[in-house]
């Protein structure tokens, strides 16, 4: 049997790799890829807890499915924003898009 804590450790490591990607990358598309990694890490946690704690219910799977749908919407809107910014300002570097910065 695989211990539950192994899944949690993997998800934590993956989440932190995603956090590093979001914080350190310049390119907006690369930042979105970091966000995808973080969402996937959370999904591992959700499904692992479902499998080890409440395998008879389906609420954990429902949660994971909703996270999938939200991730799809997030990727679509995020990439549309990036392409729109690229059209108007010829850049995808997140630091250059600072007109709303206080």
């Amino acid at each position: 049997m695989i211990p539950l804590s192994w899944y949690l450790a993997l998800a934590a490591a993956l989440f932190c790799v995603g956090v590093y990607g979001v914080l350190a990358r310049k390119n907006a598309v690369a930042i979105l890829m970091g966000v995808e990694l973080m969402i996937n890490a959370v999904n591992i946690n959700l499904v692992a807890f479902w499998h080890y704690r409440t395998p008879l219910a389906v609420s954990g799977m429902t949660f994971a499915l909703i996270v999938f749908a939200v991730a799809a919407a997030e990727a679509a809107v995020g990439l549309a924003l990036i392409i729109s910014i690229y059209r108007r300002r010829q850049t995808v570097v997140a630091e250059d898009v600072n007109m709303m910065k206080f």
Binding site: A12, L32, L37, H51, A80
Partner: protein
């Protein structure tokens, strides 16, 4: 060590190595391909967790749609970056420290929580049928399902409206 544990450790090693490549590779197309490797590893994990349906959804939605979308966006915006110069901003050491601190924090929390490590009950074979019934039952999850459908529709219409080129009209 059982066979399942060996499979898990191999998958976890592949996932982590590919994830590190995603956030460090200079060439963004390569980063997107490493992201696909990570997502495939995740599908393997879902199979290990006896959630075969989620594994299929992972392959179809993540690899089939989101990864392709990301590759499209990279190729549409490739000219400006040219994969030259630094791919990380000047605060990347701070980001590394934050990520490591977060990892330590999550690790301490998980250890202090004192997880029970009892073997899980068997997943019922008809749980996909149960999932479908629950998702369409007004007593359970039909409202979240409709809300998430509306969110997806709004997201798709919004992204079309945002990404449309207004100068060509």
């Amino acid at each position: 060590m059982t066979l399942l544990q060996i499979i898990f450790l191999l998958t976890a090693a592949v996932i982590l190595a590919a994830a590190v490549q995603v956030v460090t590779t200079r060439n963004l197309v390569h980063a997107a391909l490493w992201l696909i490797v990570t997502l495939f590893g995740m599908a393997v994990l879902f199979v290990l967790l006896e959630a075969g349906f989620l594994a299929v959804v992972q392959v179809v939605v993540y690899i089939g749609a989101i990864a392709i979308l990301i590759i499209f966006a990279i190729m549409l915006t490739r000219r400006v970056m040219q994969d030259t110069g630094s791919q990380t901003n000047r605060y990347w050491p701070v980001a590394l420290v934050i990520a490591v601190l977060l990892l330590v924090g999550i690790g301490v929390t998980v250890v202090r929580a004192g997880l029970r490590e009892d073997p899980p009950a068997a997943v019922p074979l008809d749980n996909l049928r149960t999932l479908g019934l629950y998702l369409t039952s007004t007593e359970f999850y039909v409202v979240p399902l409709v809300v998430v459908g509306a969110l997806l529709a709004v997201g798709m219409i919004g992204s079309i409206a945002i990404a449309r080129d207004e100068r060509q009209e």
